[in-house]
């Protein structure tokens, strides 16, 4: 972005100085002496692991902290010249918009038009001005066709756009977004990020975006602020951030940066375009055939499908669900078989039928035609692990020997007397899985199929690595593991096979390396950079680059 557009030197869109904040009854502050500013028209990416203080900083910038959450606060927060600690979120609503990761709780009206117009109505804007502003923002976000719809008929991606429209309708100088893409498929996620960039450029609105999947938005950002343990650990340009992350926090490294770092290429690329340009300048873009290089958690031999017994099979499976008061075919003649010991990623855009397929396999939904069989038992962990936790002691959730065996499988045998609410997010997820597994194991033998639906929402890379280890343990124990996910990079690490659904039918089914390198949206960043069949991880890419370097020119 040009210096003119960023207008450095003008009053900042956000100025935070020496901010220390502790939630009520919290033993220690979640933010400590945080100082950061966002210039008008700047696009700032807020990086950091889970619980590093990103969300709290965003809430302080829109006035929810301390006005809504209470707690103790010190320091100064100014938004467009207004004191955010003195003014409440209502007063700040004209200057700052906020979008959180759960779109369901961000809508309060019945229709989309009413939802978008609500902030203007609260401000007392005349009806005509309101109608025009709603129309303008709907056009900017490409949602005019949704205006007459009721909010309960929208998909997650549509809801997220409506929430963004409601945040932008007052034409704020700053918009804050807390992991807005965590529930979106790669297509909708990419669209949202570039939409933000376009609004940032055209409307001049400053953006402060907290995200875990940095590869998705680093190229769109003017600046990166990284947080660690409630403090600012890094503040600088995206290219500098990549260099810092190698030593500062390798968990924040993007796949393309890791590829370059393993291949010893400098500077580290900020995105796919920069990486391609860099390789072209080195004449490395025309690489030879892919070299089979294993990546963590996956051996070369595992690219071949295991010859275990079938754990799940679907034959011409049709499932119909009601949508907009009309029956709608969600699955349309699916044929699929998953074998014991296989690690399968089930992918596809929002509404493609991933969750429906898992629910049909688990017997929660009856098919209207066809047949599906789970041959040796199945455990399904749905999208919200908290739904499984209803008691106040882990041991009460899982009594007896069957419960103890399930806890051992997920590595929580030490937490029998703990309150589930005191467990970390990852541990709660493992406990929920243990609840689904309990009694379905023969001694320590797992059921034939273990299914996880979107288990990486809001997870940082360290927690994802723990989950990969758990999946490997389950597969090694003989279970076929199928994970419905939007996270392409995560799928590349754990899966040996990818099944891609599109509008209720299987549109691709094959080894992960083939499927995740054979497209654009459902492809890893490394695959998009190198465009080599079968190369999807930084390790594979680095080996291919090294081989190309050695090849005589």
């Amino acid at each position: 972005m040009s210096e003119l557009a960023i207008r450095r030197g003008a009053a900042p869109a956000l100025a935070v100085e020496g901010l220390t904040y502790a939630y009520p009854e919290a033993p220690r502050p979640v933010l400590e002496a945080v100082s950061v500013d966002v210039a008008p028209g700047e696009f700032v990416l807020l990086a950091g692991r889970s619980a590093s203080g990103k969300s709290t900083l965003l809430k302080a910038a829109c006035g929810l902290v301390p006005h809504f959450h209470g707690g103790e606060i010190e320091g100064r927060v100014e938004v467009a010249g207004m004191d955010a600690i003195e003014s409440g979120p209502g007063q700040l609503a004209s200057a700052v918009g906020y979008v959180s990761q759960d779109p369901e709780t961000q809508v309060v009206s019945t229709t989309v038009a009413a939802e978008i117009g609500l902030p203007l109505e609260m401000r007392g804007d005349p009806d005509l001005d309101r109608a025009r502003a709603v129309e303008e923002v709907a056009l900017a976000l490409a949602i005019p066709h949704l205006l007459a719809r009721t909010v309960d008929t929208l998909s997650g991606g549509e809801l997220q756009r409506v929430a963004l429209a409601a945040a932008l309708v007052t034409r704020p100088s700053l918009v804050l977004l807390d992991e807005p893409t965590s529930q979106l498929d790669p297509v909708a996620g990419d669209e949202l990020i570039w939409l933000l960039r376009r609004l940032n450029e055209e409307w001049g609105v400053a953006v402060l975006l907290a995200e875990h999947r940095l590869e998705r938005c680093l190229a769109a950002a003017d600046r990166v602020v990284a947080m660690a343990a409630g403090a600012i650990a890094f503040d600088g340009a995206p290219a500098e951030f990549l260099a810092w992350s190698q030593v500062g926090d390798p968990a924040l490294e993007t796949p393309a940066a890791r590829l370059f770092s393993l291949a010893g290429i400098e500077p580290l690329p900020v995105g796919v375009r920069a990486a391609r340009a860099s390789l072209e300048s080195r004449e490395l873009r025309s690489l030879g055939p892919a070299t089979a290089v294993p990546h963590p958690g996956k051996g070369v031999e595992s690219e071949v499908r295991p010859s275990g017994q079938a754990a799940f099979s679907a034959r011409a499976l049709w499932v119909e669900l009601a949508r907009d008061e009309q029956p709608h075919d969600v699955l349309r003649g699916i044929d699929l078989e998953i074998r014991q010991g296989e690690r399968v990623a089930l992918m596809g855009r929002n509404g493609a039928g991933k969750s429906t397929l898992l629910k049909a396999a688990a017997g929660l939904i009856d098919p209207v035609a066809g047949k599906n069989e789970v041959l040796m038992g199945m455990a399904l962990l749905t999208q919200n692990p908290g739904d499984y936790l209803v008691r106040e002691r882990v041991g009460d959730e899982l009594p007896g020997e069957a419960g103890a065996a399930a806890l051992r499988i997920v590595g929580l045998e030490h937490a029998v007397d703990t309150d589930p609410r005191d467990l970390s997010g990852g541990e709660r997820q493992r406990l929920a899985l243990a609840i689904a597994l309990a009694g379905r194991m023969d001694g320590e033998r797992l059921p034939g199929l273990v299914a996880l639906d979107e288990p990486t929402r809001g997870m940082d890379r360290a927690r994802k690595d723990d989950l990969v280890a758990l999946i490997e343990r389950l597969a090694a124990g003989g279970a076929g593991v199928v994970v419905a996910t939007h996270d392409v990079e995560f799928a590349a690490v754990f899966a040996e096979r990818v099944v891609l659904l599109g509008d209720g039918v299987v549109i691709a089914d094959g080894p992960a390396a083939d499927v995740l390198s054979g497209g654009w949206y459902f492809a890893t960043e490394v695959a998009r950079v190198l465009d080599l069949p079968g190369v999807i991880t930084p390790e594979q890419g680095a080996a291919a680059l090294a081989a190309a370097e050695e090849r005589p020119r």
């Binding site: 759960d102 019945t110 609260m122 409601a166």
Partner: protein
């Protein structure tokens, strides 16, 4: 799955009418059902709200309300027949029952129960039509300047009901997916979990309301408004009024007036005990006809294509 009673935007006079007008019309029909006991008038009122709902496109809501209303009416008839021993036409003597004593089923008690059940069913259908056809956002918008806190509570509730319904469905699924070795989850535990989750959800929704500026002073009509509500250039024209408002306000007033006059003229001459006496006089019939006719008000008139003002004259052959 959406509730059949959930509001769905559709084109039509009842949906376009302001909440006040819709309430005046449906409220008048409900009031008539509560003022009158005559089965003929109650049947006419039931027919009116059903026709109104069907013409407004709320077929699902009307069907669900009729089903529920019919079940409730049957229950009321059975309970009334068992509990009330008045009436001279004994249909069955059931002897001595614990707590109830001597139970005689009389035709009069059945008819009296039917009238009460019919009244409840009419109220249910009217509410279902209101729920499916009147935009709650407009109701809350109208309510906010008058009762800000009540409007906030109503907004929270109206948003939380569908969210809680979705949460309950998810919790039920999760309970079914628990392994046979995990502790069983009873309805009480699920309800407790749902309540705890709903409180968290309520906090999130309340935070969203804060961010939208709900805590600001409710907007008052500004000085830029024209005289007597006429539209002035540069001034907001209220979108909460429609050309159908007058129709529904008038219908509501006319129905109430006719009901009161009819009552004075003996249109509700209906007694069940000791023997059934029902008036079918001209006043009752006229009032019933008027009520049924009012049910057609939500009908959408199809516009005829405008006549061409230019006559096409065939060119003279040369």
């Amino acid at each position: 799955m959406r509730s059949p009673f959930a509001y769905t935007p559709r084109p039509g006079p009842l949906q376009a009418a302001s909440p006040g007008a819709a309430v005046a019309y449906l409220g008048a029909l409900t009031a008539v059902a509560f003022i009158y006991s005559s089965p003929l008038v109650l049947l006419a009122t039931g027919a009116a709200v059903t026709i109104a709902g069907l013409l407004a496109g709320a077929r699902g809501a009307v069907r669900a309300a009729l089903r529920m209303g019919f079940s409730l009416a049957v229950l009321i008839v059975v309970v009334n027949a068992l509990v009330v021993n008045r009436g001279e036409t004994v249909l069955a003597r059931l002897g001595d029952w614990p707590w109830l004593g001597e139970v005689d089923i009389t035709l009069e008690a059945i008819v009296a129960g039917l009238a009460i059940g019919l009244r409840a069913a009419v109220a249910m259908v009217a509410f279902a039509v209101y729920s499916a056809c009147v935009d709650p956002d407009r109701v809350l918008r109208a309510l906010r300047p008058i009762a800000g806190r009540s409007a906030l509570t109503a907004t929270l509730v109206s948003r939380l009901v569908p969210v809680a319904a979705a949460d309950a469905a998810r919790l039920r699924d999760a309970a079914r997916l628990r392994g046979p070795g995990a502790a069983e989850v009873g309805k009480a535990a699920l309800a407790r979990r749902l309540l705890a989750g709903s409180l968290d959800r309520a906090v999130d929704v309340a935070a969203t309301l804060e961010l939208r500026g709900y805590s600001l002073e409710p907007p008052r009509r500004r000085g830029r408004q024209g005289l007597r509500g006429f539209y002035m250039p540069g001034q907001a024209k209220s979108t909460d009024r429609s050309r159908f408002d007058r129709r529904f306000y008038l219908a509501g007033a006319l129905l109430l007036l006719a009901a009161i006059v009819g009552k004075a003229l003996g249109a509700d001459d209906f007694h069940t005990y000791p023997t059934i006496e029902i008036a079918f006089g001209p006043a009752t019939i006229a009032l019933s006809a008027l009520i049924v006719a009012s049910g057609f008000l939500p009908r959408r008139h199809k516009r005829r294509p405008a006549r061409l003002s230019t006559r096409i004259v065939e060119a003279p052959r040369v």
